[in-house]
């Protein structure tokens, strides 16, 4: 079986000290676990701009959401090239020399042109997916979006075609001459944790099960 390769030169990972992947399963596991994306585009002044955004995966596409006011999404709406990068930070890698310090992470880079979701039913489904991506089970607790709300919302869809996955895992890789057992080297694992839920002043009920159990990020 041939392993999947990169879709283009632009998404080919060149660094050899980290592992690259180009398969959908590795990509989707990262996209589904993370919370925010950093979306880059080339601004009207020809300079890059990178903005954190909510996203959700819908099969072989990525949904991006923001208000109509967002310059970023307006540009994307017009067919601008986007780069969507999603990164999970897994640990600090502490070595026995400064240069070999590193981080364990999993990262997906997607390139492409996003198209706006014009159909209102499709847009409603997309908004639901965006909320479900963050807090599964939450949409069932909410009233449906109104037509006015849907019209005021911009959702973009980006195909998951041109992408790469880059990751690092495991302990430090020290130079042979630095392997002194008296110097502590290893990994400090990092994870995102959910703290105690804070209800707003209106809420008169306990936290529902689908939110209380929400801790899927690793």
């Amino acid at each position: 079986m041939t392993e999947p390769g990169p879709a283009s030169d632009a998404v080919t990972v060149r660094r050899i000290d980290e592992r690259a992947a180009y398969d959908a399963a590795t990509r989707d596991a990262i996209l589904d676990a993370a919370i925010i994306a950093h979306v880059g585009l080339v601004g009207t002044d020809s300079r890059p701009i990178v903005i954190p955004m909510a996203y959700a995966r819908d099969d072989e596409t990525l949904l991006l959401h923001g208000s109509q006011a967002s310059r970023l999404l307006r540009s994307g709406k017009a067919g601008t090239d986007l780069c969507v990068t999603v990164t999970l930070l897994d640990g600090m890698v502490l070595a026995r020399s400064t240069l070999h310090h590193s981080m364990n992470y999993r990262s997906v880079v997607v390139l492409g042109r996003a198209v706006p979701v014009e159909d209102l039913d499709e847009r409603a489904a997309a908004l639901d997916l965006l909320v479900e991506h963050l807090t599964p089970g939450q949409v069932a607790a909410l009233r449906p979006s109104t037509e006015k709300e849907l019209r005021s919302t911009l959702v973009l869809r980006l195909p998951l075609e041109e992408f790469s996955v880059k990751l690092r895992e495991g302990g430090p890789v020290d130079d042979e001459e630095d392997l002194d057992p008296q110097i502590w080297a290893g990994v400090l694992p990092l994870r995102t944790e959910v703290g105690e839920a804070v209800p707003d002043e209106i809420t008169a009920v306990g936290i529902p099960a689908h939110l209380a159990g929400w801790n899927r990020i690793r």
Copy 2:
């Protein structure tokens, strides 16, 4: 006293439902607390590319680090415009309608042209700062970097001049007609936590105090 304003039109925050800031203290608190940056630039094919990178703040500049092999830093070396975005995710904001779901976060966007740190002593100091940013106290436990190591490393310095801070905090903002106390709404706080340290196979000592106590991310 006049509040600091944005340094350029490109970094002026236009969304009005979130708070913007342009002062150095707010900026630095975020830059010093976060771990990675997402660095954007315009590639040779005129498309945007966004890569996660290690960084550290050095007074009024930002240090960026990567191997000489990195396409991204090679471009930055040549004087390419960069956008460096650092985001801390503080919570999921759950509202009573799909559209008012949101996230609490603190984010800094820096625009500018980075210059390479050419002087080897300055580069050594920069590498130390990069390690100290991640794990304070760690550099004292390490041998100094060798000249060969320093020559093989690219460090860029970006002025913290053109920047903006954007943040959201607090609970959901629901529409008046949605304020049903029987629907749970509020915030699920998020924080990055350090798990149990994993020493490598060589290590024969306990974890030093400066690493055991490392948990500064909020």
